[in-house]
């Protein structure tokens, strides 16, 4: 029941996580040995080696930073817009009716369907941002909506009786109640923003971007590069996810358990 984690426990937790990762790397190595075709699959060591070569290039940092800024901007806008839409559509049924078709469209419309329009209207440089945005928006929207609808009616009555201002009701009742679902949307959405954003970069190939690097690795069958850049994408996603979780938990009115 103690909330503080002892240093001993912490090392144990980290050890377990590292063991899990070691297991998967081992499996990867086994697959590599079994396939024995470096064009299809390269070894973990090769990828790490390549990664260490890459990080020495200024291009690596330029591509990475530009991709991060593009994708995270789309992500952030989606989180903000998603929360606003969730509030509007759960509180005013008119907006729900109005936006439901849009939500359906955004969720199901394949990128191929609107890429030309997006390129014309939004511009090729903004397309990755826009596509990350479209990916994250429905996740945040639907999770926050579910969270808002699930807020304890009893506590809302408390807020009403004690004449909480709207701001206070939001901050003290809604935010803490919706937070777990919001957080879940933020973390799932973050991974998806990366996936979609990088894919869009593969299409629009901005001068410096991770997607461009992946595109080149793919068509020139540089499997080592392909794996290394993929690793970069996944690591960045995990890293930023940890940051987002940390930042949101700072705003948390709840206890962190």
């Amino acid at each position: 029941m103690t909330n503080s984690i002892t240093p001993h426990k912490k090392t144990k937790v980290i050890t377990k996580k590292l063991l899990a990762i070691a297991f998967w790397i081992l499996l990867w190595q086994v697959a590599y040995t079994a396939v024995a075709q470096e064009i299809l699959i390269v070894s973990p060591v090769q990828v790490i080696t390549r990664l260490f070569e890459l990080v020495r290039l200024p291009e690596f940092w330029l591509s990475t930073l530009l991709s991060i800024s593009r994708i995270m901007l789309g992500y952030l806008i989606a989180v903000v817009v998603g929360v606003l839409l969730a509030v509007l559509t759960t509180k005013i049924s008119f907006f729900y009716d109005l936006f439901y078709p849009v939500l359906s469209l955004i969720k199901a419309m394949p990128v191929a369907s609107f890429i030309i329009l997006a390129l014309v209207w939004i511009g090729r440089d903004n397309v990755p941002m826009f596509i990350s945005f479209l990916m994250v928006l429905p996740i945040v929207w639907s999770n926050v909506s579910a969270g808002i609808n699930g807020v304890d009616k009893g506590l809302l009555e408390v807020a009403k009786v004690f004449e909480f201002s709207s701001a206070k009701t939001v901050l003290k009742v809604y935010v803490p109640s919706v937070l777990p679902m919001f957080l879940s949307a933020c973390t799932t959405g973050l991974g998806f923003a990366w996936k979609a954003g990088i894919s869009a970069e593969v299409i629009s190939v901005p001068e410096y971007s991770i997607g461009t690097q992946l595109y080149h690795a793919k068509i020139y069958i540089e499997t080592q590069d392909l794996f290394a850049w993929t690793l970069v994408v996944v690591l960045l996603s995990v890293l930023i996810e940890k940051m987002v979780v940390y930042l949101i938990s700072k705003f948390d009115g709840r206890r962190t358990s």
């Binding site: 009893g154 408390v158 004690f162 004449e163 803490p176 206890r255």
Partner: protein, 217 residues
Amino acid sequence: MIKLENLSKSFEDNFVIDNLNVDFLDNSITCVLSASGAGKTTMLRIISGLEKDYLGKVIGAGKVSVTFQEDRLFDWLTALQNIEIVSDSKTAKKLLEQMGLSAQADKYPNQLSGGMRRRISLARSLAVQSDTLILDEPLKGLDVALKQSVYSLILDYSKGKTVIMTTHDVIDAVNIADRILYFSANGFKIEKDIAFEIPPKQRDEKIINKYMEQIME
């Protein structure tokens, strides 16, 4: 004064409250008694402005403060914060002390006993300035010794307010009520309406026993 005029309330065609007319006097504590399920909570919710779908009129409730029948604490706030959310910190700390919970100030609701949670819920409703104080079984789950101190707390914080309180324990009523209303289970009609002459704080054991008998008749 709170006036209920021709108040009726139904759930699915079943009229729980059927044409109720009653006044609750200012600066007085009215204890509401009835069988379980008669309609006490329903009436209190209407007075608190939490039910919209009723017939008749509620007049003069003013600013209302409520102890709900369930505790309705914020799980993510400590005992102290649960009171501070409606009042200033000084009042909150004082009430917590008066409830004998100073040691529990920083505990979360799920780390408290049932009676402790009840006291915090009550303290929250006492912490705010209001015209009307609605207390739905505020003493539920408190032991006898505690009740005595909570009685005087309620009396202290009731000054100048219209207080309506429910309880299932007649002892509570004779200890703090200025008036007792007993409602029927069928249509929530007033069956008994007893006003006590001697103010609660001046009642000794003898008077309390007398009033007890008066009710039990």
